[in-house]
Amino acid sequence: MKKIISLILLFIICLGIVFCLQDIPFGAAKTKVGHYYIDNGREETGATNIVTSVVLNYRGFDTLGEVTILFLAAIGLGAVLATLKKKGKRQIEPASLILKTGCRFLFPLILLFGAYIFIHGHLTPGGGFQGGAIIASAFLLVYLGCRERKINEVANKITESIAGLVFIVMGLIGLTVGGHYFLSNFMPKGEINTLFSSGIIPIIYIAIGFKVGSELTGIIDNLMEKS
């Protein structure tokens, strides 16, 4: 009964969407602003990756909101799970030698790859969020492989807070020194397509990388320890 009602409802929604979609041709340019960003993005921001220049320069304020949502979700997860009674001593079965050695070998390499991704965010595909996710996966590997190890929670929180502060302070400096808006690019843009270019974008992406990495690691820590 419930399935039939749901299917009828979905069919009605589907008909409405089909009528709407006939006015949206596939594969044609639809916005003018996207073309403006592609044409002028390199001169105005200095970043060769146009998506990065949209995320951090033209729409940097949205990114601040996004980071705030991630922060709120991590805090909410900690608050929801905080009152759970900790399961006494976890039954830890030590991992085998091969697993432990492989884990120890791969951990720094994954960290290095994550750092590469977020340092080169303005030149190649990637950026702070992706690099942060890769760094968190390295910590997840430690949790699954070398099971008796644990991250330092205080250091995790300090890293997260400092990275968030760097983002906001860079934005406020841009507001006072550089121009008339939050996160304006006040540093020299340098030569296009080199590592030290495009002003504040690499600095903010490094901060976002540390913040996302430590936040996701905190989420993993909460879910593994308290559940």
Binding site: M1, G27, I38, A73, A74, P125
Partner: protein
Amino acid sequence: MEFLSNYIYYIGAFGLIFIGLFIILVKHNLIKVIIGIGILDTGVNLFLIAVGYISKGTAPIFSKAGLDANNMVDPVPQALVLTSIVIGVAILALALSLAIRLYKHYGTLDLRKIKEQRW
């Protein structure tokens, strides 16, 4: 057939969205409902990327000289989807933590028993 080849990305995206909605509406297990939310999220992201696609376009990155700026896809939907993916991860983590609490409190993940519904 021409309709299918023109709109195949839209059809795929809305297929994912409807599968997700159907799971959310029909299933009783809370974990399955969360999986449905994840599938719906993926469908919405795919639809946004498909809207921004330009025929035979390349990624909007000037990684080497000689790339044609007229031949690049729209960067704005890609930036929006970058935001949306991160928020999707945050929502999934929060929903899973709430599911853990519900399981500890009620001893079951069946939504019918939690809400004391008949069907």
